[in-house]
Symmetry: C2
Subunit: 610 residues, 2 copies
């Protein structure tokens, strides 16, 4: 080899995962990495790997002195080109777990294309290397089958989605990354402009307004698989840049969007698995989801529904219940099947601790026994509730002897949020579902607005969401109860996508901006170009966006976004492999008309990538 | 209609471009924009447009008082839903230029889905609106057939490229946008990090190092259609963000890359036009291209080649020629066919002015007549050149009576650059080629290095380009003459793509960094992670990147990038529609630990979007 980097006569005839019995007797050339090396003295076994799989090479060191010498120097992850003849493995050495396990390749010649230093961790499916070491050597980490397969599966998903979008008549159109910064700039990454001193671009959180403009321009159906940016505070599994399948259509109402995307999602998933994994996607209103599951993205793989007892218990002797209802709150129960005996007092206290962050004050509980009335409960509540009421509660919750009943009382939002989170935790802990199952669900009829901490309205979806026509009059009288034409696609308790019909009438858009507390001047400054465009023939339109990384995680069963993308950043938004972000020079900054606030940086402490 | 935004019974049954004679007698519903309106009193004609085309609607105002009233209020670009019956047009009104020109639709009902203000410019194929007005109202500009078709054609090209890449086994893998800033930061857009105070990301100029890392990770074949960013000084027709088809492959040499991408480009172009537009793609070395065409991206649609006369004229009496050759320069000629009589002295002086920017000092010329020797030239050169030499020059340049000969003498680079530019200008001016023709060409064997203005070496392609094995020894003795395994795809004089085999051996990469004048410390700081990765089993690899916008321009015959993308920025990197970039608040900047250098901004002058 010497300085001939990759001579054409060493080009592979097959991928490492390809050779089968049919090739026995033929000469093959493979290119790949040394995944395993076993030295039996006279025989050396090398397993060569590429992205398709592995083949076993046998070097008979007694036959060829040059190969013997060469093989001695070969270590794990060396890059080799090998020539050899395919032969059947001895019957006792057949490996049925590998596709190439019936054959092996008798080495005739080997070329070392590159060497490899001592590995920082072994390249194995299960790795006990720390995450930070793995990310630092991401190119080695990605040689692990499990990571490579995830990343390739994500690519396959993207390709299937594109095919479906194309078939459905969506045009692939790119929108800009250097977008307008807004005065607040909250959660935006800013980019200083060199050509326009003192001015800034922002990296878009989504192409929302561009896609609406494309509808106004007449493109009818648009899609894009596009990076979006959000500068969020440190959160476990969030990336500052993420990928969205972004879609928009004209001359549609909510029903059209749901129908078309039910189809697209169904076909994509079923093609991905080459079998019918999902059929129709059921629908549920936001209100139903909150009432029954306590969250707006319910995991419908299991029951454990929230049961409303407010009306039943409002006249009981238990003050916690009666006061909650008097204050327009609610009393809800969870029936945990068959766990009456298994849950200790301590464990129930842990559950209580778990719901506190949601504002819920506590849990009452009853262990259900056989018998009627008070006799059927082991609970401190028996002091306050009548036999009759207990019987009714048992009936309403469908409680059977051996079950555990958990009760929570308080304001609607806190009870629902607390029990909703508890339900998810119990579902996981008690293995109430098959983890391989995919349970899709449309959630519809979200409220248009919600009250922020300061009592002001904020848009629940975004400020361009169309209110339900039936509720238009409520915009004046009772804005909080206006439903939006907004919808989410949920799978296994994960929000996979969300969208809405947009406002296409300028006067309604202005009305919403004013409800959101934007003055005319603010609205003009932030969204003036949209308001203007709405005056020039905007068609009715709506759309949806899906989280591609999350979608891929669901299909592959990955538990972390870091395992589905090739170059993830840490929680501190750092790339450990390249050492990004990094300091830059005064000169580079001066050219951009900015400087670093050194004192503030010092106060914040020296940045440590972690 | 009132507040029902888009009732389901007004959903289109057909697109506006679809109705044909086969539908005569049937009721259709169309949704679209009013492209034309003609009021003949009793009859009103409305032409309705969507992205597929146009249909003519006839409103018989005498039949329906409500429609009469409604139609009176309808203006250009109103958004309508119409119901009506398809009928044949009267024979004298058939329009053969429109696909729907044999029919018209007798209006039965009309719903106004939205109105439109007075247009800033009419929506017509040829527009005399200023570019800045068109960009400000880009949504109206994009309703023009010509712009919409360009943008859709670009989308089609992207889809075909993806299909070809998939068929050839390339995996679609995304790389990060928030990349590491380098200390110089030249031509990079920087992004301040909030979580890492005082640190910066850079938006990548290309995913070069990520794709090399993906090869080292074992992905074998990678592609991505990806935005790249370059903060260039004001240049006509350059965008700060542009799209690249970015590709990389392992276990290949140059020949493999050229073969595979010849195939991919051929199939993409021929499928785009649904006919065989290109066959084999010819190849030419960099040296041949420079010698013959004076540029490294020759427009091979026409001849007008540069003819080298250096050896012939080196002993002549004409000092300009002899001195040029003595100083190791050259004398070249262009034979402009049949233009001996048409080019005035003034026009030739203009040509001289055109080549001055390239450093060329002047042009000598001869108008070729019939006869032999001096008799055959009308030229001031006849004083200096012998009959014999003139005859030889005529023969060498293939000059015929009526031709114009242009001569240029000086250093190689300036003569080639000057005459190369002149050749392109003359080719266009004299219509020497069919503008619809597509002439692809591979240019190979580029030099690895070139001398910068400061006499230091710079990489001609990029610092990761592999030198030709045969020239490795020259790295020590004569680096300037080392050829690179680098190649460009050129079409009609435009560089459509470029790539190289990369260095996969760490010691060679270090050698190149040192030739480029990088100290060990600098190399480590900028590219340390690459050098490290090369130590862990990097396979031989190489790739290529294509300019998607340019590719689309060539296929559509567009002359400006602004006509092929939906939201272009001006030369000053501004988006006139959204008003981007924009100022931001002190508070937002403080959160990013930066501030604007106000004095510097004032010195630079207030930014004006233009």
């Amino acid at each position: 080899m010497s300085e001939t980097f990759f001579p054409q006569d060493w080009k592979r005839t097959h991928f490492c995962g390809e050779p089968r019995k049919e090739l026995i007797g033929q000469e093959v050339i493979l290119n790949g990495w040394v995944a395993q090396r076993r030295d039996l003295g006279k025989l050396v076994f090398l397993v060569l790997r590429d992205k398709t799989g592995k083949s076993q090479l046998v070097v008979d060191t007694s036959k060829n002195k040059r190969l013997d010498e060469l093989t001695k120097g070969i270590r794990h992850e060396y890059v080799l080109a090998i020539k050899g003849r395919v032969r059947a493995r001895p019957a006792d050495q057949v490996n049925t777990e590998v596709a190439t396990g019936e054959i092996e390749i008798e080495a005739e010649d080997i070329a070392v294309l590159n060497t490899c230093d001592v590995l920082p961790f072994p390249i194995t499916d299960k790795s006990d290397a720390t995450e930070s070491l793995r990310l630092q050597y991401r190119y080695l980490d990605m040689r692990r089958d499990v990571i490579r397969e995830n990343i390739l599966a994500r690519g396959k998903l993207v390709r299937l989605l594109r095919e479906e979008m194309h078939k459905a008549g969506f045009e692939d159109i790119e929108t800009p990354f250097l977008y307008k910064s807004t005065p607040e700039g909250a959660r935006e990454f800013l980019v200083p402009s060199r050509i326009n001193p003192g001015y800034f671009y922002a990296l878009p959180q989504s192409p929302q307004l561009f896609k609406q403009i494309l509808m106004i321009a007449g493109f009818d159906r648009y899609y894009q698989i596009v990076k979006c940016f959000r500068d969020e505070d440190l959160r476990a599994d969030r990336q500052p840049e993420f990928t969205q399948l972004d879609c928009e259509m004209s001359f549609v109402d909510q029903e059209d969007v749901l129908t078309i995307f039910t189809d697209i999602v169904k076909r994509t998933v079923n093609t991905f698995f080459t079998r019918d994994v999902i059929g129709e996607i059921p629908r549920m209103t936001y209100q139903q989801a909150m009432d029954t599951y306590g969250v707006d993205k319910p995991d419908t793989r299991f029951g454990l529904k929230l049961v409303d007892l407010s009306k039943l218990v409002k006249d009981s002797e238990f003050k916690v219940f009666t006061e909650a209802v008097e204050k327009k709150g609610i009393v809800n129960a969870l029936r945990v099947q068959g766990q009456g005996e298994t849950f200790s007092r301590k464990r129930i206290e842990d559950l209580e601790t778990a719901i506190r962050p949601y504002g819920a004050k506590g849990l009452a509980f009853a262990k259900v026994k056989s018998g009627q009335g008070k006799e059927s409960w082991q609970s401190s509540l028996t002091k306050f509730l009548s036999d009759e009421l207990i019987n009714i509660i048992n009936k309403t919750t469908e409680a059977k002897p051996g079950d555990l009943l958990l009760f929570c009382a308080g304001p609607y939002q806190t009870v629902k949020a607390g029990l909703g989170a508890l339900r998810n935790a119990l579902g996981k802990e008690l293995h109430l579902y098959d983890t391989r199952e995919l349970n899709f669900l449309w959630v519809t009829d979200f409220p248009l607005l919600e009250k922020g901490d300061d009592g002001r309205f904020i848009a629940m979806h975004h400020p361009f969401t169309c209110p339900n026509e039936e509720d238009l009059a409520l915009l004046e009288t009772d804005p909080e109860n206006v439903r939006a034409k907004a919808y989410d696609l949920v799978c296994n308790g994960v929000e996979l996508g969300g969208g809405s019909i947009r406002i296409h009438l300028e006067r309604i858009q202005e009305k919403i901006f004013s409800l959101l507390g934007l003055t005319k001047e603010e609205a003009e400054k932030k969204f003036g170009f949209l308001l203007k465009a709405l005056k020039f023939g905007a068609p009715p339109h709506g759309g949806i966006a899906f989280g591609v990384d999350r979608f891929a995680m669901l299909l592959t069963g990955c538990e972390a976004i870091r395992d589905i993308i090739p170059f993830p950043k840490t929680q501190k938004q750092a790339c450990l492999m390249t050492g990004s972000p990094a300091p830059t020079s005064e000169k580079a900054l001066r050219e951009l008309y900015i400087s670093v606030l050194k004192e503030e940086v010092e106060k914040a402490g020296i940045s440590k990538h972690a």
